[in-house]
Amino acid sequence: MSNTAKSLASRLNMTRRSFLKMSAGTMAIAGGLVHRDGKAFAYEPYLRDDDLTTVVTSCAHNCGSRHMLVAHKKGDVIVRLSTDTGEYQGDSWNTDTEEVPQLRACLRGRSYRSRLYSAERLLFPMMRVGERGEGKFKRVSWEEALSFVAEKMEYIKEKYGPTALLDQSYAGASWGVLHKSDQITGLLGRFLGMYGCRTSSWSVPSYQGTTFSSRMTFGTIKDGNEDDTFAHSKLIIMWGWNPAYTFHGGNTFYYMRLAKQRGCKFVLIDPQYTDSASTYDAWWIPIRPNTDAAMLAAMAHYIFVNNLQDQEFIDKFTQGMDAGTMPDWAKDRENFKDYILGTYDGQPKSPEWAEPICGVKAADIKKLAEMYATTKPAALKASWAPGRNAYGEQYNRMAAAVQAMTGNIGVLGGCSEGVGKAWSPKSSAYPQDKYKNIWKQSIKSDRWAHCVLNYPNVKREEIGLWPRSDNTDGQIPNIKGIFWQGSDWFNQLTNINKEIEAIKKLELVVCMDSTITPSGLWADILLPIATHFERHDAALPWYKGHYYIHRPKVIEPLGESKTDFQVFTELAYRLGFGEKYNPKATRDYFDNNEEVDEVYLREWWENQVMAKQHVELTWEEFKKRGVYKFKLKRPHIAFQDNVEKGKKWYTPSGKIEILSTKLARYTDWTKTAYGYEIPAIPKWIEPWEWLGSEKTQDYPFHLVSPHPRWRTHSIFNNIGILRETYEQEVTINASDAKRLGIKTGDTVEVWNGRGKVVVPAYVTERCMPGVAVIHEGAWMDLDENGVDRAGNPDFLTDDNPSPAGAFAYNTVLVNIKKTELAHRPGWDKLATARSQVFRRESSF
């Protein structure tokens, strides 16, 4: 009996009886029955995992989770990728417990090798030779590229002043501890800020409405529980939430499966019957897009009228929920309960009132309200997507009020999300000193084109100018250049046609990326950035989970790639502040970064992780294992101490502010970053485009553009093996399709006054009539008439943000018809996706 057979049998936990049977069979073969197996693999010789070098690392993109990737390499080439098996943390193979689950990578992570070695990989510095956007470049040396950028920067700063360079770094390469690309702690912000010429972009595309709500209501965006707590819920209401698509946290979707096995009931409020609904066997309540706040208000109405609220919780912990919880200074103001009951405007926000707005039967609203108020503990997970609307912040604020009135906050199995950030990692290995996030002006991220096109005739409220305490307050930025670091924002922000007009007015567009992105085609200069496989870093959980994953330099940087830290440091030296920018670096950091990076990372581990998070594993041991998973003393539940020990919330009143002290006290809204009035209590406010508006005469469909599963925003759109499994398409209901004569697979055009895209149609009963769905992030591909053949919905979205800064990605009306125009799914040519096959039972 060979060792292999033994270990295989034990690992497959076979019974002893069958194991013996198998051994007997094996011996029989050895005894003379010669059986010769052929060669197994499609190509020989085949490298087995155990012949290869194993390196633990992680995925690294801005998706909402972070998982382990294990590179199996031969020499300097990654041959294949696997994921967590439980053994790297020091446990036995395939250890996978509820307390310490494996961090299994999703389909995007598993495709990383295709991205790393893709045809779109940017390998050398490139300089534009044609018109901007024409996509013609020549290869240049790093010396030429960096001189060009540095000289242009000096010229622009000198001529147009300290607001002329716009920071559009984003999270495409972010969430390492050393190589970061976000707006607050990122490398570009530090670089442009120290240089003294930076306009920053303050609103977060994914969840600004939600961020605003969490900050106003709870005083923090850390209003989340760790994902394992979902396993303890008795009722989970997925409000516009589709964890089966977004993955959202290391194992959220899996813990919800455990909840289901323990008897938890699920409800989905969404225009689509998503895979999350089918997996968790949810009660689906289809709702018209952008009307979520109205339905939540109606639930609150039912709960108040039937006295189902947790009055003790309300009295103790909330401000402004009802007349009794109004602070003295606000006695003459509206409270939430009286708004809901219609005391002020004579209109009770009853289920009957909400029914024609939301397209949801009053009886269903009542039933859900009853379920939510009487099931304990219940998690109302108010997701980000319904907040990406005109007045989206009202939906999130309303959800928080309903969460609070039922007392589902601070308890295991409840939920106060919101943004939902939970356990906090130590997130930065380079200095977060006085040079962090210096900005001369800061605007709503989706208003840059409006600002550029209308400068200087722009009012501060139009661009959401963040207030300053010095004499530059209110100064409209004169943007003349853009830096993209880990960002494909040109492809991802709203109203791309307006962006195309604006970018032609700029004098410098720099794109730093590992991939030639659709944004990159509009740049003046492309700088090749090493991927996370090619530099040393450590990975943090994104959103949920409590672990660190080491990210060693798995292979040498491809082509002439450099890390973004190397590029900024070198530019900083050339512009005269290199020592301050990267204090541990020497002048040769551009060519020699490994030792310096190692020092930063070791100090981060020792001074922050070990010293402050009670971790005993040494840096050397962490590097050897590749992963460290925390075992929490108790489940991480947001606001548990507030509820159990009377700790104050981080709001001005120290309470859950249904009535926001901050909002109540603003007098001149134009001087705020929001620009326009936001009510101090949550209210239903009619959006500027929705199925109830008159614009439906021309544009009868409400378009939503959720996050796809087969891309992270625009990242991975060029990966053939991902794209063949799904299709960029518009999803519409079968009854709408029948009326328009459209069948699945027909090419259609989707258009409104802002643009036009061409996509195949997917006809289904799983989508609400009147609603169209196109997933965001397709790589734009314009024909000669400016029609997008790829199907990027941001040619249709509006760049008018919600007052609180929420992008109105999902506030879009469109029309649809069959077309002769061509759809092009990608820059390359692929066989037709076979995902259509077996899609509907009737097709059999």
Binding site: T4, S7, L8, R11, L12, N13, M14, T15, S18, M22, A24, G25, T26, I29, D37, G38, A40, F41, A42, E44, R80, T83, W93, N94, D96, R104, C106, L107, R110, S111, A244, F253, Y254, R257, Q261, Y273, D275, S276, A277, S278, T279, D281, W710, G720, I721, L722, R723, N733, A734, E765, R766, M768, L830, A831, R834, F838, R839, R840, E841, F844
Partner: protein
């Protein structure tokens, strides 16, 4: 509905039986490994597919593992579930006897059905014969390839890449007899759940005796022995 003597189905069935008897005596493995998939709890993310593609170095085109989406009903009363298959490593593989070069073989130790790439001539007869679409033609080298249950991983004492990729832990392998008997410990089968040999719209398992078990969706259930009649 019972079959009449002259029904076309009956004629085909008899022909299959005759063909199998005349051409092929299948290898009886010491232990037959097979897959188990939970049709309901699968989120359909296709991490298993991509893990498989990456491991086997496949371009767009051939897909050893295929997660199929099934949906039905009328708005708003709809349902959906997933069906996830690669090669079912059948007890009586339909592909095997069609191979003119003997490239397809069934392993004695674990019942894995495999193609010897050095013998495959890419004639695609196996592709046509398989009722589950397992053999995949790869135009990049003109060969037919398919799932070999990651035989290298099995031999190393581990499980295939697809199983180890499953984020929901709804896909697993094990001795198929034990899986069917409910005697195999696996997260793919939840508490109180049982498995079936076939679900709606799949070929009759009597044809090839596929080594796969499903936790079915209610809408995917078939009366196992009357499946042909339902079709």
């Amino acid at each position: 509905m019972s079959e009449t003597q002259s029904s076309p189905l009956k004629i085909i069935r008899d022909a299959i039986k005759r063909h199998k008897r005349e051409t092929y005596t299948p290898v009886v493995p010491d232990v037959q490994f097979g897959f188990v998939h939970n049709n309901v709890d699968c989120i359909g993310c296709r991490a298993c597919e991509i893990a498989c593609k990456d491991k086997n170095g496949l371009n767009p085109g051939p897909r050893f593992r295929r997660v199929q989406y099934i949906e039905g009903g009328t708005f708003p009363e709809v349902y959906a579930y997933k069906l996830n298959m690669s090669c079912n490593h059948c007890a009586e593989p339909a592909c095997l006897p069609t191979c003119p070069t003997g490239a397809i073989f069934k392993r004695k130790d674990n019942g894995v059905v495999d193609i010897d790439s050095t013998l495959c001539i890419g004639c695609r007869r196996c592709e046509a014969a398989c009722p589950y679409g397992a053999p995949q033609f790869d135009p990049s080298d003109g060969l037919v390839k398919k799932c070999n249950m990651c035989i290298d991983e099995l031999e190393a004492g581990r499980k295939p890449y697809c199983v180890m990729a499953c984020m929901m832990r709804v896909l697993d392998i094990g001795p198929i007899d034990q899986i069917r008997a409910g005697a195999y410990q696996t997260k793919a089968i939840g508490p109180g759940e049982t498995t079936v040999r076939a679900v709606k719209n799949l070929a009759n398992p009597e044809l090839t005796n596929p080594s796969i078990a499903f936790v079915p969706h209610n809408k995917g259930r078939v009366e196992e022995d009357s499946q042909q009649e339902e079709n």
